[in-house]
Structure formats: C-alpha cells, structure tokens
C-alpha cells in the first residue's frame, strides 16, 4: 500500500477517535459534582457569590441548557474551527493552549532526553555484561527509578541542588539551568523502564544467528553490538518510547506544579478546578491529537528501523 493511502486512512480513522474523546469528556464533565455556575461565579473573588450572581453566570453561559444541546452547540463551533473562549480569562482556548504548549513540550522532550541518556548506555552495558555486578547495579537502579514517585524526586532535587548546594535554580522556566532539575525529575522514572527494555531486547537479538555469524567472521564485539545488534533491538523500545511520551506529558502535570513551570499541566488542573468547560474540552481534543500523532511517528520509525515492515492493514 502506498504511503499516501496509508496517511489518508490514518487521518480518516482519526475522526471517530476525536469524536469519541470529546463525547466522553463532555459526558464526564456533566457528571462532575458541583454547580459550575457557582464555581465560576466565585472565580477571582474574595467572597462568596450571591444567588443572583450565580444565576447571572448560569444564564450568560447557557449552563441552564440540557447537556446534549450544549454538546451540539460546542461541536458545531469546533467543526468550524472555533474552540471557544476560556470562561475564566476570556481568551480564546486555542491561544491559551498554544501559548503554554512550548513549555510543556520542552519539558517532555527534556525528560525523554534524560531518560534515553541514562537508559541507553546502562541498558546496553547491562546486556553486554549480563549477570555481572554492573547488571545487578542497573537492575537496582531501575527498580529505584520505577518506584520513586516523581514529585518526591523533584523535591529532593530542589532541596539538594538548589537549596543545599546552590548550583541550580529551584523553580521557574528560564535558560538551560532552569531546565535541568525538572527534566531529571521527569526523566529518571522513564529511564527505568527503558533501561530494562533495552537490555532484554538487546539480549534477544544477541542470540540471533546473524550475530553469531558476525562474531564468527571475527567482527569486533563493539561493532557487532553497536552496528548490527542495537538497531533491530530498538524496535520494541520505540513503541514504549511512544507510550512514554504520553506518560511524560501526563507526568509533566505534577512536575510543572512542583517546579512552577508554566506549562499546560499546571493550567489544566486549574481549569478543571474552575470548571472552565471550553478549556477542558479543547485540551482533551488537543491531547488526543497529540497521541494520534505520536503513534503515527512511532509507525514511521518502525519502517526506518526495520524496512521489512510494510504500511498496510
């Protein structure tokens, strides 16, 4: 099948996914306890709103209409490319998302880089020196990395590197220095899984016939591992990496709050607490797009890693 056809199919299959996601989010928001009009009326106020104020908000935002009607209206606007405006700030939802997106992507990418930077060398080493002390150490490291919650790690990093040693800033987004601690807090957990996966996958490949052939030819071990075994062993790693990207985006919510990193995660939590429906809806839509795009990128990477894979059903 041609790549173009494949792309077309992917895009078409995207529509029901997005429709489903939006329907579920809308339904869930309808089930969430609490009166959104009341919560919105008290936004940014020092005192409790009066009953009149609450009713005014309800009417103004059409929150008195039944849920299906509100959904239909929202969908009608989205189809025309209008995600609406935030109920809290009054800014367009699209702008609210895109203005914070770079910060979150930056952090997620940082987490991925840190994760790979640790996982690749350690994972390969552990596979090559199987059952050695190094392998055992890497196993302990992975266990630790997978069990330590990222918020705790974040706090410890701040206390150690910012408060005690004074090497790095404790919070905020700025230059490279601001970037290091949150990326590490985010990436260390991800490295644990990747590390184990790389080891297992590489071990499997190292037992293949063609590796034995390569060794028999007298190829040096380094070349065998790095040039012949590594690339095919990365196939499952890429799948998990794609999934990890989603995980990291989610994990970024916590890390962003701890490091006062002004990204989407911090923003969406506040929007949910404030019952800012257009923002929540827009965000869900946007995130499903990101996930679909990541999966697509993973598929493309497969082809590069293993040319035998064909785009098809």
């Amino acid at each position: 099948m041609k790549v173009r056809h494949y792309l077309l199919r992917r895009v078409v299959s995207l529509l029901p996914v997005i429709f489903g996601v939006s329907l579920i989010t809308f339904g869930l928001m309808g089930l969430v306890p609490g009166d959104p009009a009341e919560i919105l009326a008290s936004y940014g106020k020092e005192t409790e709103p009066t009953a009149e104020e609450v009713e005014a908000v309800r009417e103004q935002l059409g929150l008195d209409l039944p849920l299906p009607v509100r959904y239909a209206r929202w969908l009608g606007r989205v189809v025309r490319g209008d995600l609406g405006r935030s109920l809290c700030s009054g800014e367009p939802v699209w702008r609210e998302i895109t203005v914070r997106l770079p910060a979150t992507l930056e952090l997620t990418a940082g987490g991925m880089v840190v994760g790979l930077l640790i996982a690749l060398p350690v994972g390969i080493l552990a596979a090559v020196k199987r059952d050695s002390i190094l392998d055992q150490l890497s196993r302990a490291l992975a266990l630790l990395g997978a069990s330590v919650p990222s918020f705790w790690l974040g706090m410890v990093l701040i206390l150690l590197f910012a408060v005690r040693l004074g090497w790095l800033p404790a919070m905020g987004r700025g230059g490279l220095r601001h970037f290091i601690l949150p990326s590490c807090a985010l990436g260390l957990g991800a490295s644990a899984i990747l590390m184990r996966l790389i080891r297992a996958s590489l071990l499997e490949v190292l037992e293949q016939d063609y590796i034995r052939t390569a060794r028999a030819k007298g190829l040096r071990e380094r070349a065998t591992v790095l040039r012949h075994a590594l690339k095919p062993s990365l196939l499952p790693v890429v799948t998990v990496l794609g999934l990890q990207f989603g995980n990291l985006l989610g994990g970024a919510v916590i890390i962003e709050t701890i490091f006062a990193w002004p990204g989407l995660g911090m923003f969406i939590i506040e929007s949910i607490l404030a019952r800012d429906f257009p923002v929540i809806q827009g965000f869900a839509l946007f995130m499903s797009l990101v996930f679909v795009a990541t999966n697509f990128a993973v598929d493309v990477a497969y082809r590069w890693l293993d040319p035998r894979i064909q785009y098809g059903t």
Binding site: G34, G90, I158, V163
Partner: protein, 530 residues
C-alpha cells in the same frame, strides 16, 4: 574480554559525558550571583528616588496563586499589585480611609452620599482622573459586586471633582461597602465597547508591563504617581503553586519575599526563623474560620448539643498545636480586626465538664452520629484535617460520634445546599469591615448563605436586629444592635468561631518596609532593597 572492556570504556565515556553536560551547566554558573534579573531588567533607566539606593530596586514576590484575572473581571488585576487604586480603602482597624476620594459626607437619611475626589491624578495612559471616570467605573463594578452595593440607584456628577451616589435605601455604611475592590478605578480609555476593561490601566504607584501566562506579572514604577514615586523600580509577582518550592526559592534568593495570604505555611515558620538571611513577619487578617452546625436536623437542632460541642473545643490548644501559634483563638463571629464592632466579652468558653453535663442532659447515655464534611480544596491551605480529628476525639467524650468526610469543592457545595451534613468548617472574610456583611448573609433567616448552605438558623429577634441595623443612621445605635446580635449568636451557636487568621509571610533580610495590611495588600509603595 579485551573487546568487552573497550565497549565498557566507550559506554562509560558516554555516561561520563552525559553527566558532565549536566554538571557543567551547574558549575559554569555556580560562581555567578544567585539572583539573576530576567531579561530586560536593566533596560529601564528611571530617575533615582529621593534617597539614592545603590542596589537595583527590583523586588520579586512569590505567591501561591495567580493574581492576574484578565478582561473577564472588572478590576483585571488583583488589588495587591497596586496598579489600580480604589476611591476608599480600609485601614488595619477596617475603617474606611481616603485614597482617590479625599472626603465624603451623607445627607440626613443616608440616601445621598457626596464624595470629593483627589485632584491632579492621572491614569498611567495620561487620562485625567475625575468625576467622569468614576461614573464610568462604578456601575460596572456594582454588577460584579451585587453583594456589597445592592442599593445603588445612580451616580451624579456635581462638578469635575465631586460625585454623588444616590441610594435606593438609607445606607449608613457606604464608604465601607465601596472600599478596595468595589471602587477600583480603571482608565476610561481602557474600557471597551461593552464597558469592560481591555487593559489594566490605573492610577497606582506601579504600571502593568507584562503578564507571562501562569508564570509572572511584571510591574514598573509609575514615576508620575500622585503620592510621589515608589522606591522600587520594578516588581515581579511570580506564581509558584507548590508551598515547598516557594520556600526553597526564597532560601536560594530566586525570590525576595513570600507575601500573600496563605502563601507561607505555619509549619514552615521555624525554617524561616532559623535562617539568618530571612525575616519572618505576621499580620492578623479579616478571615475567621468557623465550625458551622446544620441546625435544621438532629442532632444539632438541639441548641444544648451545639453549646456542648462549642464548649468542648480548646481553641487556644488548637492554635498552639495545629497552627504553631500563628492564629488567634475565636472570640466572636465578627473578626477582632473590625475593632469598632467586635464584642470580646462573648468569647466561647472552654469547659469540658459543663459540656459533658449538657450533652448528658440531651443524650441520656445514648450515642448519636454526626457527619462532618470537609472541602478538599481548603485542606491544603488550612489544617482543617487536624482540627477535625481533635474535634472528633473531643466530641466522642460527649457521646457524639463524628464521621469525617472529605469532598471535592463542588460536591461539598452540593452537600451543603442539600443539607446533607451535620457539621462543616469554612473560612469567611469580612471584606467590608462592616458587620452587616456577616449578619445579613449568615444570621438573617433569609440571608443568602444561611439558605444556600442550609445552616437552618432562624431567630426572630436576630432578624429584627439585622433589618434595623441596615438602615440605622446612628452608628452608636448600630453598635448596640450588632452587640446584641453577637450575644445571640454566641448563646445559640448556629456557628462558632474557631480561630481568627494570622497570616505569616517572609522576606529576605535586605528587603525593607515590605508589610502586608489587613487585606494582605503588600506595601509596594514603601518597600525598598537595602
């Protein structure tokens, strides 16, 4: 094995390089100043203030909330930023004091109030502040503040610097009602077609420069300020949601102060006190924390059980143990900050023996259950969890088995509305400094919060007093009414004050004269860096 060693070495180098990249980032900058001003900080060359100060006059304040609201709100920014100013503000005893209005007087029956405006004041965009600006601003704020200005009929311009507020009913406390947020003045040039502000252009000592989403608000000194220019040249409000990170940033010097209500936790006080570079400060604020009863259903429809629960609470112990001493044991339902109104001789008594006797009288050896619901969003800011556990233990002695349930904010509101609770805890701030703002909403049987939260409290005499006090012109008589109301509430305990909030805040040692007031507004006009 030699080959393996070589691989080993290569990989080791990769790892080493990776570590070096990380570490070099730190070392390269380890020698530089801990506080690096953000880009563009040096760009502004403003004339020196009257007393020449050597250090760059830039102050970064860390906060646990975002004070930027945007065009959806009439006042655009929080008042703490000192960008806009009100006509009137409350002093630390919660009495109205002049800001943009210099004086005021009312007619005999309190239906017409005349305000004289400060002359020679300009908004940041150069537009003069005058009667026309007031008239454009106030009706819009009234829409936002139906609670505080329900009686406003119209505004009249008398001359360029005099306006009249025409009220529908006698309003003896109007200056209190329009204090601070309610009379925020935004430049008429910045008001859009629908009358909403499109930009935060005020008359205050600081001008709004930039808002970075969820990150910071940047302000710059207004050199033409009518009260004389501030000493600080630049102020940055940095939003740091996590309390631990906030304190860490103060310790590292990334921020110069944590100055807002609830931004520094009582349990963090000792860390600040032990650090020679930091200064710990405190200020009593107008927020009171209440334990409220659902008087509409058993067991607390019986006044004796409410009295018993109130008497079994050791409020001083509560402040010492759960707040590390940073609080004031509950005195009256009216905050002690409203000095002229609070009645101190009705303070709840701590008497476990009497409480037990009262409970015994009602329960006669039986045990009853009571559901205490907590708002999850409030738990992170105040030690309600600890308090409710202490209460649970104390109430068990009386024969009341308290079940604690924590609900998400929306669900909590719904449970209150439906009356599906026996006890709850909540804060309330007497924003106007006038007792009607509490009595008219909590105590009056038709009060909006009394009804919406199913307090189920109704007392004929209290209703009479609330109504009479609203339109009473003689402040001494009003005082008598509110004294009697406070006594009634103390006797019948539909709700009881647990403690009055004391906000703690902290600055770096070189920050001088930065103080919070009763409404936690920082003194940006006076502060400077030494």
């Amino acid at each position: 094995m030699k080959t393996f060693r070589r691989i080993h070495t290569t990989l080791f180098i990769i790892g080493l390089v990776a570590t070096l990249i990380l570490v070099s980032g730190c070392q390269a900058t380890a020698t530089t100043q801990p506080t690096t001003p953000p880009e563009g900080a040096q760009a502004t060359t403003t004339p020196q203030p009257t007393t020449p100060l050597k250090k760059p006059q830039e102050l970064t304040i860390g906060l646990g909330r975002n004070l930027y609201y945007g065009p959806k709100k009439w006042y655009f920014l929080h008042g703490s930023l000192a960008v806009w100013e009100p006509l009137v503000i409350l002093d630390n005893d919660m009495v109205a004091q002049p800001v943009l209005a210099t004086s005021w007087e009312m007619n005999e029956d309190g239906t017409v109030w005349t305000f004289h405006l400060r002359e020679g004041v300009k908004f940041h965009d150069g537009t003069p502040f005058n009667a026309d600006a007031v008239i454009l601003n106030v009706p819009k704020l009234q829409e936002e503040y139906m609670t505080t200005l329900p009686n406003l009929d119209s505004l009249e311009k008398v001359d360029d610097y005099t306006v009249r507020f025409i009220m529908k009913e006698p309003t003896p406390n109007l200056p209190q009602l329009i204090a601070y947020f309610s009379s925020a003045m935004i430049s008429p040039q910045a008001l859009g077609e629908d009358g909403r502000p499109t930009a935060p252009i005020g008359t205050g000592p600081f001008k709004f420069v930039e808002y970075i989403e969820d990150d910071s608000i940047i302000l710059e000194r207004n050199d033409d300020y009518w009260g004389g220019p501030a000493k600080l040249e630049r102020v940055i409000f940095k939003y740091i949601p996590d309390a631990t990170t906030r304190l860490a940033a103060l310790q590292t010097g990334e921020i110069d102060a944590i100055a807002d209500v609830g931004s520094l936790q009582p349990e963090q006080a000792s860390i600040v006190e032990q650090n020679p570079d930091l200064v710990l400060l405190q200020q009593g604020v107008a927020t009171t924390h209440y334990l409220t009863f659902n008087c509409g259903k058993p067991p607390f429809d019986d006044v004796r059980l409410r009295q018993a629960v109130s008497m079994v609470i050791d409020r001083q112990g509560l402040v010492d143990n759960t707040l590390y001493g940073f609080g004031e044991p509950g005195v009256s339902v009216i905050t002690p900050r409203a000095k002229q109104w609070v009645r101190t001789d009705v303070a709840p008594r701590y008497d476990p023996q009497a409480a037990k006797a009262l409970a015994e009288e009602v329960l006669d050896g039986e045990r009853v259950e009571a559901k205490l619901i907590l708002h999850s969003g409030l738990l992170g800011r105040w030690p309600y969890e600890n308090i409710s556990q202490i209460l649970q233990a104390a109430a068990a002695e009386l024969g009341i088995d308290v079940k604690i349930e924590t609900l998400e904010g929306g669900a909590w509101n719904e449970a209150l509305k439906a009356g599906d609770y026996n006890l709850t805890m909540m804060p309330y701030t007497l924003m106007t400094g006038d007792p009607d703002f509490f009595m008219g909403r909590w105590v009056w049987s038709e009060g909006d919060l009394n009804q919406r939260r199913s307090y189920g409290y109704a007392n004929e005499r209290a209703d009479e007093l609330v109504i009479a006090a609203i339109s009473e012109m003689d402040q001494a008589v009003r005082k008598e009414y509110y004294d009697e109301l406070q006594a009634i509430v103390a006797e019948e305990v539909p709700f009881t004050p647990l403690y009055h909030e004391v906000t703690i805040y902290a600055t770096r040692k070189n920050v001088k004269d930065l103080r919070l007031d009763v409404q936690f507004k920082p003194s940006l006009d006076k502060a400077y860096i030494e």
